[in-house]
Structures are given as structure tokens and as C-alpha cells.
Symmetry: C2
Subunit: 314 residues, 2 copies
Amino acid sequence: MLDLTLLGSGGGMPMPNRHLSSMIIGYEGRKILIDCGEGTQVAMRKVRSGFRAIDIICISHYHGDHIFGLPGLLSTIGNSDRKKPITIIGPVGLKKIMEGLLVSHAYLPYKINLIEAAKRDIGFRMSSGILQENIEDEKNEIIFSTLKLNHSSPCLGYSLYLPRNPKFYPEKAIDSGIPKQMWSKLQNGEEVHHEGKIYKPDMVLGEDRKGIKLSFVTDTRPTDTIPAFIEGSDLFVCEGTYGDNADIKKAIKNKHMTFKEAADLANEGKVKELLLTHFSPAMDNPSIFGSNARSIFKNTILGYDGYKRILNYD
Amino acid sequence: MLDLTLLGSGGGMPMPNRHLSSMIIGYEGRKILIDCGEGTQVAMRKVRSGFRAIDIICISHYHGDHIFGLPGLLSTIGNSDRKKPITIIGPVGLKKIMEGLLVSHAYLPYKINLIEAAKRDIGFRMSSGILQENIEDEKNEIIFSTLKLNHSSPCLGYSLYLPRNPKFYPEKAIDSGIPKQMWSKLQNGEEVHHEGKIYKPDMVLGEDRKGIKLSFVTDTRPTDTIPAFIEGSDLFVCEGTYGDNADIKKAIKNKHMTFKEAADLANEGKVKELLLTHFSPAMDNPSIFGSNARSIFKNTILGYDGYKRILNYD
């Protein structure tokens, strides 16, 4: 299970009535933040999210509306008595950006691990009580994938995948005469060698089951590779900078998307639901343009600050 | 005349109900900002202050609650079509801090002039429609003074002084037979040579008159030099991190002040009014401690976000 809260639904500039696009995801008591515009820590306080449990921060790109909340948030996390390391993932240039943004931080009580421009999937699992990169090639609890987007600055889309164990059939284990003390290892997909015999997981497990998939795509023009990247997402969080179809020229010029374009991607990617966010500060009321997306992709949700959601296995 | 707005009255961390300590000052349509914590640009929008007229930014010190709003604000000023230069004043280290904070700014459409650790007064006057440092040694419209404070990071107090011309007496000019076309120069304090005669300003002017003085002191412990620095201020804006006298140990440890200590300084400095600000996030309602200041210095105002004020010549 994942829970997620849209901290802010705005793009460009922070406004009194709309925080900048940022999302916080909860998993087993730990937290993952995606993007961190100015004011993100205030948005977190508004939804009563604590700071200390943030283990992973994903940055889409280095425009201010996605990163200027980082220096303050990292300070506040330090004040929350955090001691364990935090992982930050971002496009090429992450090290330099972090050195700059942390210029006034004399000291942070925790280490920051940077993963720059990941070209491979990155597995995370719970280790010492926090989500850490799984470098031991054991079973991953969450797999992060990234995709190069098409924006005016190097930009990454993210998807998070929570694999699901196949169903365990105790009756199969009993039929095969497998001792009970081996059941949990087999259930976890491990092969067991015992008294000269080899027990394999498929002896007790059903077919593969789909996990939970969440994807986050902002800021970008539509690209050919996005549909495959987001395919089958339970929730596709996507920028919808412009609601009005007539703003397509602005969208092309500023390398953003209209609601319609986001909905087209949702359709092509066969996602379950689309959550629109990153609204232009010039768009006071995104809901008047909702039909521009819904006429193409019915299950469209217009994001708002504080929107909460739980994603469960089917 | 000066007008001022307290943008935020909080210290430490930005909170949903309290922005960080920052003040914006208006003079002849131009603006001066003192300190810029995260969220300052949102606080400016709330009080309907535009961005383009900001000519001078004074930074007290480089703790996050005083500077993390700068990267975003400078971007937003850039988006407001500002082309003319901006002056930023701050303690030693300003250049390095600004390089760091601007790491992700590919381009700003205006130049930034840095004045680091000013050891002298800095005069400003209107030039090309904006307030600029007066390097021609002509008449200053606003004089900035700085004072080293006692905080856990190099920190400056600021005072702004608007000199006032002595009163002009036309009857004296007539009595002395001074031609009318010379009156305005004399009124502005300039000596005039005409047909072999020398006309001096004191021939037509009255005694010196006190200007407007505004002082801003945060973050610091009380020091011996503060009273003389703030002396005679029309308004003394001072940190009051802790309201409760019992928090004096915290104040000493964290190099801040209690309300009582700020009021003692206001008394010693013979200021007209004291405006308390930079309240600890732990202090929900500063007003319950107001008497701790007012029992020592009667004209104490407890700051709040959006507090506005006009300072006029006497």
C-alpha cells in the first residue's frame, strides 16, 4: 500500500492560495518526496506531515519552482533530530546544485546520498528502519524508474513500482510435504535446500501478480516514450500547466502541456487514473477546463493542495 | 516619508500561520527589502506588493530563515520584467552565498551589485528612476548604517536615515536681495556664485531638522553598541524571539533576545516606538507576553504578518 498527498498543485511561482507542485508518498511509515518548490515545508505542516521520516527525495529538474524549498526543508529535517542518511535523486548536475543550495548550511546531522541521472532502475528496501538503496541485489520493496523528458532544462519523469508477491497456497505446500519452517522463505521467492532436497517457490506460489505503479511526469512536452513509461499506472500524476486548448502555442513555447495532451498520454499509457497538477499561476480555476481532459480520458482528477489518496493492490 | 510592511513575524521555520521575519519599505515608489526567508514572495503577494520596484535588499545574516526566499524572489523579480540593477547588502561572505543560492539561475535579466560587510555608511539616491548607491558624493536621500551584532553567525543590524532639509525662509532671501532663480539651489544646501557674489544656504535656511530614522536589529543578544546605533529611531524593529522572561537561558544559548531585553534596548536607545518580531515558532500567541515589554517600554507594538505603518517627518 502507498498513500500519497499532493502538497501543491501550482507551477511557476508560489501563490498565497496554491503551493508549488510537490507530492509526498507514504510507505510503511517512511516517506518519499517528489519535487520541493519554495514553501513545500509549509505545505507539509498544513497536511500535518512530519519531517523526520523522509528517506528519499526525487527531483524532476532544477527550475526554482521544483527545488527552492530544498535548503529550508533539509534544515528543518535536521532540526527534527534526523540522523539517518537521505537519498536524493535528480538529473545530471545534482551534485553542483546541492553544493550551491547548501552553501549556508554549516552542518546537517545526517548524510545525503546523491544519485545523479540514474540510467537504470533503482531498487529500495527497508534497511536499519529506513528506505535505502538496495545494493545487495536482494528483493526490492520499491523500484524507481526514470525517463528523460523534453523540457527547457534536463528533466526526469519518475515511476515507483511496488512488486507484489504471488499468492501462497498452503495446500500445495502440504501436498508436496514441505516442512512448515520453510514456508516463509518459499513465500518470499527463495529456493530452499533441505536434507538433499530442493524446494522451489513455484511449488507453493500462484501466478505473478501486478504490483502498485505510480508515475509522475512534470515538466515536459508530450514525448513518444512517455506512454510506455507510464503504462498500467494505477495513478499517473502529470503536469497540466494549461487548461485551455487554445494555450497550445504557449505550451509548445514553454515546453509544457495542456490538459488535453496529458489526457492523450493517459489514454495511450492505459493508466487507471490521471491526476493533473502544476497549474499555471495565470489559471485561477483549473476546474473550468476539466472537460478538456475528461472528454479524452474519463478518469481524470484535477489536483488541489492537500489532495490525498491511498493506492492498494488490486 | 517611508511606509513599511512587516511581511512576516516569525523566526526559525516558516509556519502555515506565520511567515518568516522580513520587512518591505516603500520610498517614493521604490522598495527596500530587509531579510528574505522562505515564503517572502508569497507574503509580498498577500500584502499586494509588486516585485519590480525592489531596488535594495539588506540581509542581516545567512541563516536560512533570513535568506532562503532569495533564489525564488530574484527569479520572480526577473519574471516581472525588471531590467535595472538591484543592490544587495550583507555581512562578510555575501558573494559566496549569492553564488550558491543562484546556482540554478541560468539567467537573470538584471545585474546584482553586492555590498559586502559595509564598514561605512552607504548613501542612496534616486538615479535613473531607481535607488542606487550614491558614489558621486552628492546629497543622499537615504543613508544606510550597519552594526555588527552578536549572533551565532556574522550578523548586521541596519538603520535607515532620511535626512530632512532645514526649513527655507523666503523672507530671508528677499531681505538679502537674492534673485529667485537661486532659491532652489540654496534650499538644497548648495552654495551659489553669481555676479561676483557668494550666496550661502544658511542665509535662507533655518536650523537643522531631524529626519526619519528606522532601525532593524535581528538576530542578536543585546550588545553595548546597540543603544547608540538605534538612538532616536522613530521605529526600532527588534527581534523578540522569546516572550517569556523565563526563557532567558534559551535566549542566551541561542543568541537571541527576550521581549524584556528588546524593551530595555528601546529604553536605552530613546526610540519612539518598538516593533517586536522574529517570534519563536514555539510561541503561538506572542500577545500574552506583551506586558513583559510594555512594563519597561510603553510604546511597544507586537508585530504580525501584514502590519503596515507610515513614518512621517515630525
